[in-house]
């Protein structure tokens, strides 16, 4: 057992403490951001999971943002996920990514889970009782979403799970897991099933340490999951995970992550501007410096570009029934690639703008060095290299270059 997992009860659920919050999703997010700000420095230093922010996500019922009202959820839209992820990113990228990835899992359950799993799970997510983690990585295939190596085994009416995952964000805290595995009858590595496992249905052992450059509060441990679940806990059809990947995982991830990254860089820019405009900042910096003004401009320009692309892509996803067309996929991938590069570059501009003291030291109120380390992961998290390969092939399918 990992140290964090040891003191979990068998049931594994943590009730949402305190009375449920009210307000719009963004108003609720502001309360989570406030709690996040109080702990951000310590959690980065200790590479520890943001348990306080998670408790606030439970209390504000934002964990149930994507759950339909019929199941007691906030009945939120993808636009709400984007808005909340951006707002949380302004405080801390790890918390924003944890939230965005949870929403991706919930959306998969909402759209693809069968009864009785739907009715068992969704009210509990809505009540803030279940934080969902994603188990899609696998040794040997990296983050490649649409293939799997470990096979699900049918054991009477149950499905046996034995799965090693090199990176599970929030694995020590999660109350439930959505796991990709090779379908029981698979004839190729691309017939993948998605299966839900409650924490109490699994033996979970941690097999390593988490000491990354950035995203330290995401506490993404290697885990081994062993257990069995009733057959009805498969989400979608056996072997048809590619459908969920294309319709839910891809779009929600690219939109949610990009919003988290934009929020991270926007928060950094905002803190820099507050510093520059403060009386102390105005003594330290020459606000007439053309170099400083140009660097501020470049940083802001990059973020306006990402913001526009994010909102345009969101509008496409809202508008279109299917995202199968090459130009739709290209736009979704372009958003992820562009946001990962430009948000990181915007923070680098800011570091050059304010220099060593406020750009490179940990104790600066700008938190630029944390933002830069966190944002460095963006290009690697579902690697841009892999997306470029996919985009090259997709581009060949659209000779006329029809933009989505």
């Amino acid at each position: 057992m990992s140290p964090d997992a040891q003191d979990r009860t068998v049931e594994g659920d943590r009730p949402a403490a305190g009375p449920p919050a009210s307000g719009t999703p963004v108003e609720r997010a502001a309360r989570v951001a406030e709690v996040t700000e109080q702990h951000v420095v310590r959690l980065d230093r200790d590479a520890a999971f943001p348990v306080e922010a998670l408790a606030e996500l439970r209390r504000t019922r934002l964990l149930g943002l994507m759950v339909p009202a019929a199941f007691g959820g906030l009945d939120g839209s993808l636009r709400d996920v984007v808005d909340v992820s951006e707002a949380l990113g302004r405080a801390d990228m790890s918390v924003a990514m944890i939230f965005a990835m949870h929403c991706q899992q919930v959306q998969a359950v909402v759209r693809y889970a069968h009864e009785p799993l739907r009715s068992e799970l969704l009210p509990r997510i809505a009540a803030g009782e279940i934080y969902l983690a994603s188990v899609t990585t696998e040794t040997g295939k990296g983050g490649h979403l649409r293939s799997a190596e470990a096979r699900l085994h049918e054991d009477g009416s149950r499905l046996a799970i034995e799965r090693v995952a090199p990176i599970v964000t929030g694995g020590a805290q999660a109350d439930g897991f959505l796991v990709t595995m090779l379908s029981p009858a698979a004839e190729s590595s691309h017939q993948v099933s998605l299966v839900y496992a409650h924490r109490s249905q699994l033996e979970i052992s941690g097999t390593g340490d988490w000491q990354p450059m950035g995203m330290r509060a995401s506490h993404s441990l290697p885990l081994t999951l062993t257990g069995s679940v009733p057959g009805h806990q498969v989400v979608g059809e056996h072997g048809a995970f590619h459908e969920i990947a294309g319709n839910v995982f891809g779009p929600v991830a690219h939109l949610g992550w990009s919003a988290a990254w934009l929020g991270t860089a926007a928060g950094a820019l905002s803190r820099v501007l507050k510093l520059l405009r403060s009386p102390a900042g105005r003594e330290r910096f020459d606000l007439r410096s053309e170099l400083l003004l140009t660097r501020l401009s470049r940083s802001r320009q990059r973020l306006d570009g990402v913001h526009a692309l994010l909102r345009h892509t969101l509008a496409m996803v809202e508008r279109q029934e299917s995202l199968a067309a090459a130009n739709s996929q290209l736009l979704l991938n372009a958003l992820k690639i562009t946001a990962s590069e430009q948000c990181h570059a915007a923070v680098e501009d800011l570091i050059d703008a304010v220099g060593l003291r406020h750009g490179y030291l940990k104790d600066s109120p700008t938190r630029l060095e944390l933002a830069l380390r966190d944002l460095r992961s963006a290009a690697l998290n579902y690697s841009n290299d892999r997306l470029h390969l996919a985009d090259g092939r997709l581009a060949l399918r659209d000779q006329g270059v029809h933009f989505a």
Partner: protein, 83 residues
């Protein structure tokens, strides 16, 4: 517009000479460019101990002495404004 505010404006309005500064005084036409408007903003914030909200920091606010005063007065503690 109170006297402190008018005194704050005067050094930025070289083009105004000795002309009275009234609410209709057009700041842009009297030479306040975008950089000077930032410096005027700092001067106002430091002297009066207030902070103008981001949404007030637009061209309309900085168009005339009167429009700027309106935004400034909104941030002053109640009872301190002498129109």
């Amino acid at each position: 517009m109170d006297a402190t505010f008018v005194d704050l404006l005067r050094p930025f309005l070289k083009g105004a000479g000795d002309v009275d500064i009234t609410p209709d005084t057009h700041l842009l036409e009297l030479g306040i460019d975008s950089m000077q408007s930032i410096e005027l903003l700092f001067s106002i914030e430091d002297t009066l101990g207030i902070a103008l909200p981001d949404e007030a920091l637009n061209e309309t606010t900085f168009a005339t002495a009167g429009s700027l005063w309106k935004a400034v007065a909104a941030q002053l503690p109640a009872g301190t404004v002498t129109a």
